[in-house]
């Protein structure tokens, strides 16, 4: 009876040790050899940047052989909190300056954040526009079920500002954690309308109908990027930031619906 218990506990301990050691091995090998070992660049980015950064990933990996760029796309505030809690990340890109500031305040950024784009809100509906939404003020009629981002996320903060400008006081049926979740609620037909960025509307193409909001120009969000102090790959992190801020990066971002930086 002793044997199996010892055996399984021993196996569990060995497994735990291996799991803990795995991360260290990767970084030491990346530091020791420059080209022979593959290195990983870890980028945390707001979900609105999914497609644009996805394309830039191909360029970056082609220019830097042996480098694998890994992303985590999520709500900016979620990612910022993860960085503050100690997540091992090289670069952080948020969808507004306020969220990046929370990370700067913790002395976690290795360089001043760079504003590399701006994003504008728009209203999207399912393709058939079931609630006949013609403008943003239609959301106030009480007959439209719409979704927005939580106020603590950049898209939510901009939505609140925009609602203040156009005078919409109606409440949404749900507050989603990030802008892509809002988009999903619209594309699956669960809501009649949602507030997303123009870049998300463009990414969704025929899965949504866009209703332009002229006043959205007054509630823009600046996308900012910064390398982090605890980066395992500081040189690659800088290179990524340079790529995003370069003309090439700007072109890619514009092609996905982003506006030039302020």
């Amino acid at each position: 009876m002793r044997g199996p218990v010892l055996g399984w506990s021993g196996l569990a301990v060995v497994a735990l040790l291996l799991a803990g050691c795995g991360g260290d091995d990767d970084s030491t090998s990346a530091e020791n050899s420059s080209d022979s070992e593959p290195s990983t660049l870890t980028v945390f980015a707001a979900s609105s940047l999914t497609d644009a950064f996805g394309e830039l990933e191909k360029t970056f990996e082609a220019d830097n052989s042996g480098v694998d760029v890994e992303f985590s796309f999520d709500s900016s505030s979620t990612l910022a909190e993860q960085v503050i809690q100690g997540a091992p990340v090289d670069v952080l890109a948020t969808a507004d300056e306020a969220t990046m500031q929370s990370v700067v305040d913790e002395d976690l950024t290795a360089a001043d954040p760079v504003a590399f784009a701006q994003n504008k809100l728009t209203v999207v509906t399912p393709p058939d526009n079931p609630a006949d939404v013609g403008s943003i003020t239609d959301l106030d009629t009480g007959k439209v079920d719409f979704a927005i981002c939580v106020p603590d996320a950049p898209c939510g903060a901009a939505t609140e500002k925009l609602f203040g400008i156009v005078g919409v006081t109606a409440e949404p049926v749900t507050e989603e954690d990030n802008v892509r979740d809002v988009l999903t609620k619209v594309t699956t037909g669960e809501v009649d309308a949602g507030l997303v960025y123009v870049s998300d509307a463009q990414a969704a193409a025929d899965d949504v109908t866009e209703v332009e909001v002229p006043e959205a120009d007054q509630a823009l969000n600046a996308d900012v990027i910064a390398p982090l102090t605890d980066a395992a790959e500081p040189d690659l992190a800088e290179a990524w930031v340079d790529l995003v801020a370069s003309d090439q990066g700007q072109q890619v971002l514009e092609s996905y619906g982003f506006l030039p930086p302020p």
């Binding site: 002793r2 010892l6 709500s75 049926v173 749900t174 037909g189 669960e190």
Partner: protein, 272 residues
């Protein structure tokens, strides 16, 4: 058969270290996170935060929906358990397998599945919406449905277990004395299954209270309507971590309090 000379646990209570060490590690794993919550809690700002209307709203909603879901589980689950334990209906094994699925299904997957069935464009939901304008997502009722979905298996399995261990001859006796099947169920079977019903209800309530993945996916998140305590904790994580710790503590204390009360009242009382 070879045996060690020393007994496994002697009268003086000495425990073998081979069992003690893993047991202590297991206990530490369970206790340390709870200790962490208490230690890191924002005790100095506690009075202001607890009075926050959003906290009270989330707590009220959680208690309301968990209790409603447990009632639904009892009403729907007890008959289902009876079908499984007391009848020879064909396909019982398949039914039992299906009932067990929500137990192993990741809650968020459950939420997606609920959407495909009861969402506005869902298999059943579409009919309801087009004909009557009925909608489950983004409503408090939707929260109850999601919680019932994940909690029902607990109740059904607990009651089925109790029914199996209860002597079916009492049911037969009631029949020979002239009771109808419904009367037998109400006055003989149910009281016999009471311990199973109680423990199943407690499990279901606890599961419903803690439900997150299916709720946020199916019912969405809006303060007062669908933002239960777990969703409120998730929401606070990114804006105010201290608030998240506090909400977590409140949920922990409420859960422990109710579980403690119910345990004493129902399980020891029914042991006779």
């Amino acid at each position: 058969m070879a045996r060690t000379v020393r007994p496994i646990a002697s009268a003086t209570g000495r425990l073998p270290w081979q069992l003690l060490v893993p047991a202590a590690a297991g206990l530490a794993l369970l206790v340390l996170p709870l200790v962490g919550l208490v230690v890191r809690a924002p005790w100095s700002t506690l009075p202001d935060r607890v009075g926050d209307p959003e906290v009270r709203e989330a707590l009220q909603l959680s208690l309301l929906t968990a209790t409603a879901a447990t009632c639904c589980c009892l009403v729907l689950g007890a008959p289902l358990a009876w079908l499984l334990a007391r009848t020879t209906m064909p396909g019982r094994r398949a039914v039992r397998a299906v009932i067990t699925v929500p137990l192993v299904l990741p809650p968020v997957v459950g939420g997606v599945a609920l959407l495909t069935a009861f969402g506005r464009e869902g298999v059943v939901g579409q009919l309801g919406y087009d004909a009557f304008g009925l909608r489950l997502p983004f409503t408090t009722l939707g929260v109850v449905v999601a919680q019932t979905f994940v909690a029902l298996p607990f109740l059904v399995l607990a009651v089925e277990g109790a029914l199996r261990s209860a002597d079916p001859r009492f049911d037969d006796l009631a029949a020979t004395l002239g009771a109808s099947r419904w009367q037998t169920f109400r006055r003989v079977t149910l009281p016999l299954a009471a311990p199973g019903l109680a423990s199943g209800a407690v499990l279901a309530w606890a599961r419903a209270l803690g439900e997150f993945g299916a709720t946020i996916t199916f019912a969405g998140s809006f303060p007062g309507t669908t933002r239960t305590m777990p969703l409120a904790v998730y929401n606070a994580l990114n804006s105010d971590f201290d608030s998240a710790i506090l909400l977590s503590l409140v949920l922990l204390v409420v859960s422990i309090a109710v579980l403690g009360l119910l345990r004493d009242r129902w399980l020891t009382g029914a042991a006779g």
